[in-house]
């Protein structure tokens, strides 16, 4: 009984300590952002590996998510004779929820894990310590560009995801299900608001980008410098990012839409 209490207390203290380290780490990285202005090529390189290389999975899943939404939505709506509202259904679910959330989950799997593994391996092979020896601050040189790249990439990827999803739904809806294309767009335009729906989705994806990038680089930076430690950190990145994104999404939805 005492042992159980001890272990619970120890794990609580450990996770509080991790949260504190992560926050201090984020503050140090933010303080070091000035370096990026002087060396923009660092950011371009990371935008390539974090953003462009994630594009394929985003494009394919966006199209398919939109197509499946169109099929499922149609079969529900047609019972009420409201199949003309298919565009509204697809556009609202994509801009408000599915776009930012699914993009963030895919991003955690594709880019977040890669970031953690890369930084963790740098730590395990003592490249980060070597940089410090040469008076190069790894937080400015390695961490900051990756965090900013995640922050920029995720909103862009989410917008591409949403647009392709709506495009996929349009193709399936008009060619396969026989929904009128004109009312697909006109009802969508009448019901989807730029500030309430598109902009809130964008804000969500920016926050998810910050969360995903932060968790990924911190887990890499904080991992045990062994092969086992790197693999655990990579797994933890994907799990924690997914949970944080889903939890954060609930809070943001409750705040944004009433």
């Amino acid at each position: 009984m005492v042992g159980l209490l001890q272990r619970m207390g120890a794990s609580t203290l450990a996770s509080l300590g991790t949260l504190g380290r992560a926050t201090l780490f984020l503050l140090r990285v933010i303080r070091g952002l000035g370096e990026l202005v002087r060396r923009p090529h660092l950011l371009v390189q990371e935008l390539y590996s974090v953003g462009v290389l994630t594009l394929v999975i985003i494009v394919v899943s966006g199209l398919f998510v939109g197509m499946v939404l169109a099929l499922q939505g149609y079969y529900t709506l047609v019972d009420f004779g409201a199949e003309q509202s298919l565009g509204v259904l697809v556009a609202l679910s994509l801009t408000r929820e599915l776009g930012p959330v699914v993009t963030a989950l895919l991003f955690a799997g594709r880019a977040g894990s890669a970031l953690t593994a890369e930084i963790g391996l740098m730590k395990a092979t003592e490249q980060l310590a070597g940089m410090e020896m040469m008076a190069v601050d790894p937080e400015r040189r390695i961490i900051a560009p990756r965090l900013v790249a995640a922050l920029i990439s995720l909103p862009l990827l989410a917008m591409i995801f949403i647009l392709l999803g709506i495009g996929g739904a349009y193709v399936v809806g008009t060619s396969l299900l026989g929904v009128d294309g004109g009312s697909f767009w006109s009802q969508m335009q009448a019901q989807v608001s730029f500030t309430d729906d598109v902009l809130n989705g964008l804000i969500k994806s920016v926050l998810f980008g910050l969360a995903a990038g932060w968790i990924a680089v911190f887990n890499g930076y904080d991992c045990l410098p062994t092969s086992h430690g790197v693999s655990r950190a990579t797994t933890r990145t994907v799990v924690v990012t997914s949970l944080v994104v889903l939890g954060l999404d609930f809070v943001l939805t409750a705040l944004m839409f009433d």
Binding site: H41, V44, Q45, L47, Y48, G51, V52, L55, F80, G81, A82, A91, T95, I152, S153, P155, L156, L157, M159, I160, I162, L163, I166, W185, M188, Q189, A190, Q191, V192, S193, F194, T195, D197, V198, L202
Partner: protein, 162 residues
């Protein structure tokens, strides 16, 4: 050098594609153009019941959208719903005795405000009130009225609906 140049190009294309997607979402998917169109005038109408009418619902005359509902509040003195209608400046010559009614497009579609022109020579101005209004049809009221009439008619034959 060659490699980093092509990488810059690809990253530039990616950022441009993302921004273009946002732009298309703004222009094509959402109603940002309708949002910007604030050049219109606002009239108000009081309804006993607005039913399911919502903000930004269309205002139509003869089936043509000519404006939007810009606000629905309860008037604390009259206990009626005060609905503000913003009408496009192009239609600035509506008769002052225009009547407003709340209709539903289709059986289960969205609700909108339908305007029927009157015959007065002077036209509606900003801030005017539409005097002739007709509330939304509430389905529950209709059903209960129907059932009430039914049981009244069939009173001797064993009251069908009860």
């Amino acid at each position: 050098m060659e490699n980093s140049r092509s990488m810059e190009l690809v990253v530039g294309a990616f950022v441009a594609a993302g921004l273009a997607a946002l732009f298309v979402l703004a222009m094509q998917v959402s109603n940002i153009t309708a949002f910007q169109r604030t050049d219109g005038y606002t009239v108000e109408a009081y309804f006993q019941n607005v039913g399911g009418l919502r903000d930004r619902a269309p205002v139509r005359m003869g089936g043509v959208p000519i404006g939007r509902v810009s606000g629905i509040t309860l008037d604390p003195a009259r206990f009626e719903a005060r609905v503000e209608l913003t009408i496009d400046a192009r239609y600035d010559d509506l008769p002052s005795d225009t009547a407003a009614s709340i209709r539903t497009s289709g059986l289960l579609g969205e609700q909108y405000v339908s305007l029927q022109p009157g015959g007065m020579p002077d036209s509606l101005e900003d801030g005017d009130e539409l005097m002739l209004t007709q509330s939304a049809l509430v389905l529950e009221d209709l059903v209960s009225q129907f059932l009430y009439n039914q049981s009244g008619d069939g009173g001797d034959g064993g009251g069908g609906s009860e």
